[in-house]
Amino acid sequence: MKYSGILLPFCMAILVAGCASAPPPATLEAPVPKIDIWPKIYSDESYLSTFASTWSEDEAVGAIKNLQNSMVEFNANLPLSELSVDPYGMRARWSWIENGTFQKSAGIVIPFDMVTSMLLEHYPALEKDYKWGLLVYITGGSPVSLRMPTRDMAERLGKAVTVLAKARAAKLSMPNPRFGAALGALSEAQAQAAGILPTGGIIISWIFRESPAEKAGFSPQDIITGIGGKPVRKTDDLFSALDTAAAEGATEIKISGIRRSYRTEGKTNVEIFVPLTFTLAIDQTGGAK
């Protein structure tokens, strides 16, 4: 009996610990890590837009000023407290209170002569109100991303920045509107997987929404190997063939490619690479820029 005072609580403790540490129900297994050699698929959507307009510089400056209360910086998600725009640049600030009293502020600057490119963006997965945006690339700096509630506002900002950037002789490099995709060189691993040489094609990183490429059925991760019966080794091969075909009055052109897909064999999915032929409509008003 002299041990029971210790043993009973001890046995109870073992039982309780046993209950607490009993095997959990079938839990989610950690995904098997794999090295992904293919371009990442983004949930953000880039829309093809040339931001063409007939606005004057004054109209462009006015258009940006009108948008002051309709835009937020991508991460800050705060209304702009200051906005200063002139034909040379755009400066915006926003401020917030931290720890009750301490006011902090941050800002962005877009020097129009240093703008290199712009993308009209849509963020469907963003859990915030302002789901449309303009991503402005600047020479030697991080891109500036501004979000707005509607597509029209984002396009107006893009048009205004384009007018002012062109007026400041900025070296703009906009997406080719005849195709509408971000393209890159094939890596060794990608080429090896597809069974071609690294110089045997180019790979699509992402497709612009509403672009001829999207309408032709292209998808991110597709490999373009030829156009009009000629091999494509670099992006210029594709764009120059498109421009040539457009100049010759063609309304469409055949593009050969390879698509990575899967075939189901029994209970396993086997990675396959399928040769495809795309028919790309040629827009006579477009062209490489």
């Binding site: 009996m1 002299k2 041990y3 029971s4 043993l7 009973l8 046995c11 109870m12 073992i14 039982l15 046993g18 209950c19 009993a22 095997p23 959990p24 129900p25 079938a26 839990t27 989610l28 297994e29 293919w38 698929i41 032709a216 059925g217 292209f218 998808s219 991110p220 991760q221 597709d222 050969s256 490619g257 698509r259 990575r260 897909s261 899967y262 999915n269 990675e271 399928v274 040769p275 495809l276 032929t277 795309f278």
Partner: protein, 221 residues
């Protein structure tokens, strides 16, 4: 003339074959890998979530009616009591038939004018669970420690032992995430005395055969 015909047919055949094999497939007919990978991940996720959500993982508590026999049993005759309980938990790997593990505590207590008595079994179980919808049949082997403590007017002793035995239980769903359960176990226990005093265990009556008939409620964890 015939040679010409053969040549013509051969040329036409070549053209047909060339046409068929030189053209790639229509892009609409080939789903890109990244879309399929998303679907695979989603299917896998759904399967795992369904499996986790449906896994048989319960806490149970119920009444335990013991039938004791063996050399030590006659010494415990004076300690029969209605205060007998079983509680614990059981976990199977999935909602379908699968392997099963569990822990259980059995507690038999008596308080009367002759003193008090405790018999407590702490056991783990390994077995297999068969889903017979809406009934689940669990079978396995349970083993663990047993502690016996007698504090009577004539004798006082404590025994520590091991207990092992097969069991079978039935779980019947009676409400969402709730079950009625019945269990039967045949177990053998052997004890050593923890007291230097003379007592039934130290004198050689150191084993028990325990048939446990249990019933109660179980709830999803």
């Amino acid at each position: 003339m015939k040679t010409r015909q053969y040549l013509l047919f051969a040329a036409m055949g070549f053209l047909v074959l060339y046409r068929a094999f030189s053209q790639g497939a229509d892009p609409k007919t080939v789903t890109p890998a990244w879309i399929l990978e998303k679907q695979f991940e989603q299917q896998e996720e759904e399967k795992k979530v369904a499996s986790a959500a449906g896994a048989f993982n319960v806490f149970f508590i119920g009444y335990d009616y013991p039938l004791i026999s063996g050399p030590l049993a006659p010494h415990l005759d004076t300690w029969k009591s209605p205060l007998n309980f079983a509680f614990g938990m059981e976990t199977s790997m999935s909602n379908e038939s699968s392997f099963l593990t569990g822990v259980e505590g059995e507690l038999f207590m008596t308080f009367n004018d002759q003193g008090s008595f405790f018999l407590m079994n702490d056991m783990v179980m390994f077995g297999y669970s068969i889903n017979l919808k809406p009934v689940r049949l669990n079978m396995g082997l349970r083993a663990g420690f047993s502690i016996l403590d007698v504090m009577g007017t004539t004798e006082t002793y404590t025994g520590l032992g091991l207990i092992i035995g097969p069991e079978a239980s039935i779980y019947l769903t009676f409400a969402p995430d709730s079950w009625l359960w019945l269990r039967g176990r045949y177990a053998m226990a052997g004890y050593m005395s923890l007291d230097s005093s003379s007592n039934p265990i130290s004198q050689g009556d150191d084993s028990l055969t325990l048939i446990s008939l249990e019933a109660g409620l179980a709830f999803k964890l």
